[in-house]
Symmetry: D2
Subunit: 354 residues, 4 copies
């Protein structure tokens, strides 16, 4: 372990890139190197992220693989489909962290179906808490020493963490999951689109990608298969609500066929066991339900679970900050594991509330 690692960030002017920089600036073992972008080259970071005071005067450079390759770590904060070509030009021993979607999916068919085009390939998946049923382990064991990390999607993180204890223990039926998410606007990115304007958002709740079209669906299914599901069917509906950050995922599954009757207390015990050693996934005390405000700015996923005796459904609610645990914080966490650093280094568990 060296004293510090230099990090370059490409896509520095976007929300994911900015959040990585905010966290990296406070990380004791990371040193911020080149910040690059294309259309924003020549401007200062403070023009795009004036909240990041510590880097406000840093000038954004044009993105070139050569410049990026001068660093120990390269973070790709780019639209899907654009990470792959850049990653291909980086040295094999550079640590590359992709905050985008390009390298998350294992099945080329999933990529083609939901994103289109040739699949850029699959990298080690940056969700340390993911249960790997096949090896009775968690994903962090596969992350030590890796040089490529595919950071999970934000909604994916919320739903996967909420449901996997039930899937892994065989209590929850993965063949008819329903998830509805309240999501903040930063999750929709920084491009100025009419439906993302403040005047439209304030006072309104607005669904999108309804009916099974959201690109995070195959990734959730992939995770739940990892956790032990033979087959996954998922109804998934995100709803934009008037907050800047945060995802509150309400996920529900039936009791698995043949499973014994279960109580809320038993489910709470199962969920607690699954996460008892996790620094960043916490099951709240019985009866307390998570809110997104509890996780703002923190790398924490908070979850709670109940069994609805009448509907015979397990209901789990999980809150995260989409830009932290859902993106940049999860990236730092996986990077810590890959580098052999303490997994929690440079990350907060306490949220900024109220």
């Amino acid at each position: 372990m060296r004293m510090s690692y230099s990090v370059a960030v490409t896509g520095a002017s976007g929300y994911a890139g900015g959040e990585f920089l905010r966290l990296a600036a406070a990380h004791p073992e990371l040193t911020i190197g080149a910040l690059t972008a294309n259309s924003s080259a020549g401007t200062k970071l403070g023009d795009h992220h004036p909240h990041i005071r510590s880097l406000a005067d840093r000038v954004i450079e044009p993105t070139t693989p050569q410049r990026l390759a001068e660093h120990d770590i390269v973070v790709l904060a780019l639209p899907h489909g654009t990470s792959g070509p850049i990653a291909d030009q980086l040295p094999a021993d550079t640590i590359v962290v992709d905050l985008g979607a390009d390298h998350r999916l294992e099945r080329a068919g999933d990529w083609q179906e939901y994103y289109g085009g040739d699949h850029p390939g699959t990298w080690p998946y940056g969700m340390p808490e993911l249960i790997r049923a096949a090896t009775a382990s968690k994903q962090r064991e596969s992350l030590t020493g890796v040089r490529r990390i595919a950071v999970p999607g934000c909604n994916v993180t919320a739903v996967s963490l909420g449901l996997q204890p039930g899937i892994a223990t065989g209590i929850a039926d993965p063949t008819d999951i329903v998830a509805v998410l309240a999501v903040g606007y930063s999750g929709a990115g920084k491009a100025a689109k009419p439906n993302l304007m403040a005047a439209e958002a304030l006072g309104s709740a607005a669904p999108y990608a309804v009916g099974g079209t959201h690109r995070h669906i195959p990734e959730i299914a992939q995770n739940l298969r990892a956790a032990g599901a033979a087959e996954v069917s998922l109804s998934f509906t995100p709803v934009l609500v008037p907050m800047s950050r945060g995802i509150l995922a309400t996920s529900t599954a039936k009791l698995a066929p043949g499973a014994d009757p279960v109580t809320t207390a038993q489910l709470h015990a199962i969920w607690s066991a699954a996460y008892q050693d996790e620094p960043f996934v916490q099951v709240l005390p019985p009866g307390q339900w998570p809110t997104t405000a509890m996780t703002l700015g923190a790398n924490t996923a908070l979850t709670q679970v109940a069994f609805d005796q009448r509907a015979q459904r397990i209901v789990t609610v999980t809150a995260i900050d989409n830009l932290v645990k859902g993106t940049a914080g999860g990236a730092i966490q996986s990077l810590n594991v890959a580098l052999g650093l303490p997994e929690t280094l440079g990350l907060m568990t306490d949220g900024v509330a109220p």
Copy 2:
């Protein structure tokens, strides 16, 4: 039909009472009579609802059955369990509209299970658009001339209107419905509770009554049985989001066993047929999804539907203003029907947006 009807409102200082007054003040056939309350007696309406300028100087009187009975119409805007005793003291030929829960449920067992205590009885149900499968009619036919109206719950309205076309046509399976609702804070009432404070709400999404405990569940089931369901099972989760008004209900049901395969276009046609003559329930054009802002201040319910081919679930999203179509506007609409007035009198279909 007389030229106008006098209306007394008890519970005038609360949100439901205030909204009824806002709408009644603009209704050409209603004249506002006594405003009553208990703890607020002696204050002015403008102290509680300064937005209702046209009635700001009206003084709130103590609630007595005698005073209420001087009017053609009495509106009860009271906490559950308190409407019944007052209603019992009103003349049989007074028109009584209960905005609360006391007289909605048909099964005494449902009342005891979800509310507790003795069931106050069942009144004609104030949802004109409710499909009555047994008589191949809608509920409005049962409302003409009635002297008692039980106004539906706000969440109930959103979920019932969203799902009933699928239930009535036998396309949707009522035995495993999942509904998750984004709801505004006015739906939680005016009592000052810690979790309803602005500092807690802003920037947060907060679930409540998770796991099948919400009191609107048996009422939704009752409506879907009316629409033709033999048996209803419903997982229901409300999530408070940072808006003052509005409910966005995402409701999903499996295709009924034995039903033919279906497309989104076919569902759209079924939903459109169910509501083609309805003034206040509108199916949006294909591909356009409702938001709560579209319905603000209006008596409109907007809905859209899709079929998720992979998940094999029907997904319907319905938006209403909880205080208008979900409470006071629905009450006026049913009152119009009961009085033989045009159903749309004094009600808006256009929302106040952005």
Copy 3:
């Protein structure tokens, strides 16, 4: 007076045009004719303003003077600098209402200084409540029968109505006014700009046009001169706050030199006298301060005043809905006057709250 007037709206896809249509659709003497726009031609109104259900299927046409001229009334809801050329091509006896800035200012120098280019000319000013000190009258007397109406700016309305009772009575010193406004995002228009994105706006207060550059400054000065000020000096700062609609203007002026000492009660009496016969400008009871929620969707301006004995400043706070009293409602009000209709026809005084 005919039974109804046909109205064409150009710029129908923007917020001002949409709001005019929402109100006009509910106006008993107006019939909606052509809706026109340039880039949106061929689309439906429901694509842009899905909340206006009653006109959702109306198709937007390309803007041509010929098409507009087929109507009794033409409403221009266009960016500044673009109304003038169209207005020049409309018949002299067509009633033309300009929601934009082109025809508000009386001094060509003000136009050149704040907007640039040639001044499009001055039309009768659509603020019926404006005090005309020179004639001891109000502006409505100048509006009867006019065929051109320049609708005031939204911030202008809030500040002018808040301060003019003090100016007209000589109590308030117009030479050192300070006004700071909390404004909702719809006031910034519908163009998708980065700083107007929901993710940026939520949880933030953001000033703009600080230091005396806002284009509404000369228009406020013009109004206060009309009310009797010899000279006006105004520090004006708007602050965007996370709400869709609304302006809350805090305006303060010193006691005029030589004025007798004054109390809050005396100021309240002066303000009340100024507005006692006004249907849409109301002084709240002593001690009650306006909020923007009280005016949402209504054509009401609510105001309150106090005298700060220590600071020796009059402080007045005025709330309006920027799209109603601040734009489209004010336009309808002036149009009613111009047409000889009741001034309040088709307009609400009660706000949609909470």
Copy 4:
């Protein structure tokens, strides 16, 4: 310097106490000792502040001077008027930090006029950046080694930091200052009051304490006198806007009598010089104006200044997080100084945005 200091917090269940705990938990030299409160004794901190995961299981104890006195540092997060009696019972060599108002004011008359009752006394004032004109120094020089710290009011911090460079240089006239602040709801405290409910707050801007009655007025005057003003007159109006945290203070002063003409660029240079060595007060680059989102969760005050040539007024806008730089962060900063620790220890400059 020891390795760490133990801290007790009384009033742990309120917003100020919670925020101090959030920051103290991340501070490398502080160890959290007793958490006390009165009505909340026996509950867990996680019942009140579930976002503070690291302390969620800590039990709140009843407040007694004996228990508090077991610690190196005692933080009082109590309503005004209640800190004094507790402080009187603590040992003289305990470091006591009062987040409340009791020990801020130097003039007993100010206390009596604005708070009423006997003045609890004056402690060293916890604003390290405060300019002390009399000694050509800043307040931090007076804080080293102190055992009592009075933490400034949140609005006070924003207005004082925004204006003092102009006061200290004699450019700004302190005799006619106007300040209007957009403030988030956490600043109003955690007591459940009707006007602080989410349903009331969302979509609304609401002034309070209008007309010179706010208790922060004498404290601002005191600070500006410290910075060199002979006499201060201040019109001060806070406006609650729909955000949880943040203060955006727009403060304006006339050019001092006899001062030379000035430009925005010159003011920027003056402000920059005043804060060039300050870690937590930053003047933004010319033309960039602060927003509250830029400071969320950080101890940063961001400011900008302009000269309005027409109005002849200096306009300065300052943004802070009311709970961090405005309360708990400022407290930690002053505590660092008092303890001889690096002033920035445990504090962030980068805000959590968007």
